[in-house]
């Protein structure tokens, strides 16, 4: 590499940082005010790009057509964002934290299928920008003129946002709401319109970011999730709610990637390793380092207090004996499913999947609910359990021993990562768990010799006596009852009380002598171990595992199950996991557009049961005694 190539890589990095910043600033704005972790942000980006490509076929005449298409697409998507906020999200601000996340995830599913329906499966490559089709000369090398334009878009948007936030009354209200939204409401500001307008502006920025990518990439259906992870990282590294921080973070990440790509090959323990392979996780490595070093991101301030948007969870009480008896009868009845082995063999197969999902969801619920730690990377422990089981098995351990040892691998992972995670709170904790999960994923994905790389490992089947599905089902049922039962038992034990106390008031808990971080660390390891057991059971149920067992999709599935069931109900994971797994299985057979249908069913469920299904049912049937 010489000087001119370094300069060109820097400029290229700046151009892609600019694009990233546009999208990230919208997400940061939305989070700052509404506290929504908006998974659908990437979908709005995708819609912006599709919309712009579609509109350029309408406005073909003149050089203005391109820009009109970009602007109109962004405005149309912003209007869509406003409608979504009004119809769906507005109804959920009263629900416990994270519930909006479930709604935005359902939106991702609906938007993707809607785009498939509207524009078909093929990638659509839009035109280049008029007047910026070619390259200019920089130090004797060609550099795309559109990239020059891109470099300036980021700072321009940053400046415009700064003016808007600092110099207008609307901006004043947004800043006030970011700090203390209840107080803003109490002062008589119409919060509804404030939230809707912020959401619309955030969506506009996402869609604009997408539309401006038209000269760089084709509109395709994988853009939404491909982008959302990277954008989350930018927002968190910069500090949630900090627009300037997002700008700096976007540049840092783009530069790190450019460096990995440009630097070539290095020697790792004597083996050549192309640094470009690191681009798979570069942003997550940066995030992990930043969060460990600065728990609130580079420019983040401690989050303003959110005074209970939803009623705080009432203390957990042992169930009425009659309900308990009913619960035990239901569990015993589950054993009878094994009898269906010959008459309805698939029911047994499906129930194995359901129970494994229940166990996984129960372990995640233990973290999210009673412990108050929102993990976005729980799949890591599920996957470590699954890979642990597979590796012990392939090393020659009997299947039974592998099943027992595997959760220990997950426990070890949770032990190490948990130590870092419990130092953080809120969304930062969530994102650090995600970062660790992505790092584990990328190691598994690339370590061919041990993990089989992207293909994964095959031939992991249970011992002969467990091979019949009904027998394996009984094993899974026993493990699920034992694992989930252990977690429930812990919740009612002193440690559970201390955990819930630490969640509701960390300061007071510390004051009465509870070592909050250590307690949370223990909870983290316990939850990780149980998730590892679920993963090990999964490996032997499928005979195959691949990196998707610990990919972000599975973490999200877990969140969806827990939220669907209800965070504040011990039975929540059972109901949520069963419902989600069954829905996925059934809906997929009904229509080609099963993702959209699944999303719509989920949206309907959220709107009917804003506390989750089990939470809602509990409220209907179980009378809470007010102490």
């Amino acid at each position: 590499m010489n000087a001119s190539s370094i300069v060109l890589q820097l400029l290229t990095g700046l151009a892609s940082a600019s694009a990233l910043f546009l999208v990230a600033s919208g997400l940061s704005l939305i989070f700052g005010v509404t506290r929504i972790v908006n998974f659908a942000h990437g979908s709005f980006y995708m819609l912006g790009l599709y919309g712009a490509v579609a509109l350029t076929t309408v406005f073909t005449a003149g050089p203005l057509g391109f820009w009109a298409a970009v602007l109109l697409a962004a405005l149309a998507v912003a209007a869509l964002g406003a409608i979504v906020e009004m119809l769906v999200l507005r109804r959920l601000y009263g629900a416990p934290e994270l519930y909006q996340l479930l709604a935005t995830f359902a939106l991702v599913l609906v938007v993707r299928d809607a785009a498939l329906w509207a524009w078909g499966p093929e990638d659509l490559l839009g035109p280049k920008a008029p007047g910026m089709r070619d390259a200019i000369d920089v130090l004797g090398r060609p550099f795309p003129s559109y990239d020059v334009f891109s470099i300036f878009v980021g700072p321009a948007v940053l400046g415009a946002l700064w003016l808007l936030l600092k110099r207008t009354r609307w901006g004043l209200l947004v800043r006030a709401a970011t700090q203390d939204r209840e107080m803003v409401g109490a002062l008589g500001v119409n919060q509804r319109w404030l939230f809707t307008s912020v959401f619309a502006l955030g969506t506009f920025l996402a869609a604009l970011g997408g539309a401006l990518q038209m000269p760089h990439e084709p509109a395709n259906l994988n853009l939404d999730l491909a982008l959302i992870g990277e954008v989350f990282v930018v927002v968190v590294v910069g500090g949630m709610g900090s627009i300037g921080g997002a700008f700096v973070a976007a540049i840092v990440i783009a530069m790190v990637k450019a460096f990995c790509i440009a630097a070539g090959t290095i020697d790792v323990f004597g083996a050549p390793f192309p640094l470009s392979k690191l681009t798979l996780v570069a942003e997550f490595l940066v995030m992990a380092v930043v969060l460990v070093w600065r728990p609130q991101g580079l420019f983040g301030r401690p989050q303003g207090t959110v005074r209970a948007t939803a009623a705080i969870e009432p203390p957990l009480r042992p169930l009425d004996p009659r309900w308990r008896a009913a619960g035990f009868v239901a569990l015993a009845a589950l054993a009878l499913v094994a009898l269906l082995g010959t008459s309805a063999p698939y029911a047994v197969v499906l129930m194995i999947d359901v129970l494994i999902a229940v166990l996984f969801a129960a372990s995640l619920h233990f973290l999210i609910g009673p412990s108050g730690m929102h993990s976005f990377g729980h799949a890591a422990y599920f996957g470590l359990g699954a890979y642990g089981a597979a590796l012990f098995f392939r090393l020659g351990a009997p299947m039974e021993a592998a099943l027992v040892l595997a959760p220990l691998v997950a426990a070890l992972g949770a032990f190490v990562f948990g130590w870092f995670c419990v130092r953080l709170s809120g969304v930062y904790l969530a994102m650090l768990t995600l970062a660790f999960a992505q790092i584990v994923w990328s190691v598994v994905f690339q370590w061919d010799a041990v993990t089989g790389g992207s293909n994964g490992l095959v031939g992991i089947w249970p011992s002969a006596w467990l091979t019949p599905k009904p027998t394996y089902y009984l094993l899974v049922l026993a493990c699920t009852i034992a694992g989930a039962g252990l977690l429930v038992r812990m919740l009612h034990a002193p440690i559970g009380v201390a955990l819930r106390g630490s969640r509701d008031s960390p300061l007071r808990a510390a004051a009465i002598g509870i070592a909050v971080p250590r307690l949370q660390w223990i909870a983290f390891v316990v939850a990780g171990t149980v998730a590892g057991l679920a993963g090990a059971l999964f490996a032997f149920a499928k005979g195959t595992i691949s990196p998707e067992t610990l990919a972000v999709g599975r973490s999200v599935d877990g969140l969806v199950m827990v939220l669907l069931g209800g965070v504040h109900a011990v039975s929540g994971p059972w109901v949520g996991a069963a419902l989600f797994t069954w829905l996925q299985d059934t809906v997929a057979r009904q229509t080609d557009y099963w993702r959209a249908l699944l999303g719509i069913v989920m949206l309907a469920l959220i709107l009917v049961f804003p506390l989750g299904v089990a939470g809602g049912l509990k409220r209907l049937f179980v009378r809470e005694e007010v102490a």
């Binding site: 440009a262 790389g453 089947w461 005979g543 990196p547 998707e548």
Partner: protein, 396 residues
């Protein structure tokens, strides 16, 4: 009222039973939602084949019926729907899959459950070699064969400094490794500059193109496809990466990948692909016309694969005169099937079909990238020797 419901239920059951007797059910598994660009034409292809087989009287006097399931792009779900197809739908055999990891998962499932499996799309060498088993056959030429078709052409270029760019997962890695090893054999003085391994679907095209240009290679071997390819080509054109450099590129001539590029399609690249616009054999003409008549659009490579999969199964069952798994395996070993690409044989040795691909150069025709000077490379010609395959393939 109850009576009527009971009647209805009985009616449905009897109807289903009668239906089951004169059809052969085939289970099909694919990642329709995860990979729609390739699998939408694929589905159209197999639907056409089912229609043709049944119009010609079906097989063994029964109609073929395909029960299709989406595997959601992941192996866990693939194994579950495979269980469902086998245990609830009672399918005679399973086929399909696109991704290598789902393909391998179902391969292993087939071995465990002793079910016949015809892998249609997945490219990984392992399906028929390292992880091959007696229950699994595969239609499409694998990664090794695809790369091997290009190597002699690459060697003819007599370029010294090569650089390889590939999506960072098994398909990309193994294509790159095969290409390098084989080219080194033909041309010992070749030098490979540091690879560019890009995350699948998320290439930083600007930086990658810049780094490739800085390395000053004489020639480039590309394994990127889909949206990554579009970004790479556009950025490469703007930054003049391809000027004065030869590019050898895997799968780029497939309409799925070259057509979205429209008038920016690269010119002069040596590629493998499917020039549907020019293949004049009778088998292809027949397929092409039937496909165009039914859907009013041109076939893609996926269409050929879907179509040939169902015809292979129909021919296999005819030869076996049964849907019994063991008889199917015996029938498929050495089975000859006429596909739109001509006759292919499912080898008894490793259960790999000898389907090949077209090798040619890209050029622009109006607003569209097409292949020119193409020849069909028979898959049988690029497979390694039997001894090498025996060494690779695990003993069943």
């Amino acid at each position: 009222m109850l009576n009527r419901i009971a009647l209805l239920v009985v009616g449905v059951l009897v109807g289903a039973a009668a239906h089951a007797q004169d059809t052969i059910k085939i289970g099909e598994i694919n990642s329709y939602k995860a990979q729609p660009a390739f699998l939408d034409p694929y589905k159209k292809g197999w639907e056409l084949a089912v229609e043709e087989v049944n119009a010609a009287g079906g097989v063994l006097g029964k109609k073929l019926q395909v029960v299709s399931r989406d595997d959601n792009g992941n192996p866990g779900d693939a194994v579950r729907v495979a269980e469902e197809l086998v245990s609830r739908e009672n399918v005679a055999l399973i086929c399909g899959t696109f991704l290598s990891n789902t393909g391998l998962a179902v391969t292993d499932f087939a071995k465990q459950k002793k079910v016949f499996f015809l892998a249609a799309e997945p490219l990984t060498d392992k399906i028929t070699w390292q992880n091959g088993n007696r229950y699994t056959f595969r239609l499409r030429p694998n990664t090794y064969m695809q790369a091997a078709m290009l190597v002699p052409e690459a060697a003819k270029l007599k370029k010294k400094r090569w650089v390889v760019v590939y999506p960072n997962y098994e398909y990309g890695q193994s294509a790159a490794a095969t290409f390098k090893a084989m080219l080194k054999k033909l041309q010992p003085d070749v030098e490979f500059l540091p690879d560019q391994a890009t995350p699948l679907g998320r290439i930083e095209a600007g930086a990658v193109v810049q780094a490739l240009a800085d390395a000053k290679p004489d020639a480039i071997f590309n394994v990127l496809f889909g949206a990554d390819l579009s970004k790479f080509v556009r950025e490469g054109n703007t930054r003049k990466l391809f000027e004065g450099r030869d590019v050898v590129s895997l799968l780029t001539g497939e309409p799925e990948y070259i057509e979205p590029l429209k008038e920016e399609a690269p010119v002069g690249w040596i590629v493998t692909g499917y020039p549907y616009y020019g293949i004049q054999t009778d088998e292809h003409k027949k397929f092409f016309l039937a496909y165009f008549r039914k859907y009013n659009e041109y076939p893609k490579l996926g269409s050929v694969v879907g179509y040939s999969t169902i015809w292979s199964i129909a021919e296999g069952i005819k030869k076996a005169k049964s849907t019994d798994t063991e008889k199917l395996i015996a029938a498929f070993s050495g089975l000859q099937v006429t596909t739109p690409f001509g006759k292919v044989t499912y080898r008894a040795l490793d259960h790999q079909s000898t389907m090949g691909a077209y090798l040619g150069k890209t050029k622009l025709e109006g607003q569209k990238g097409v292949m020119t000077d193409y020849v069909y490379i028979d898959g049988a010609k690029v497979l390694p020797s039997d001894d090498e395959v025996k060494k690779l393939r695990a003993i069943d």
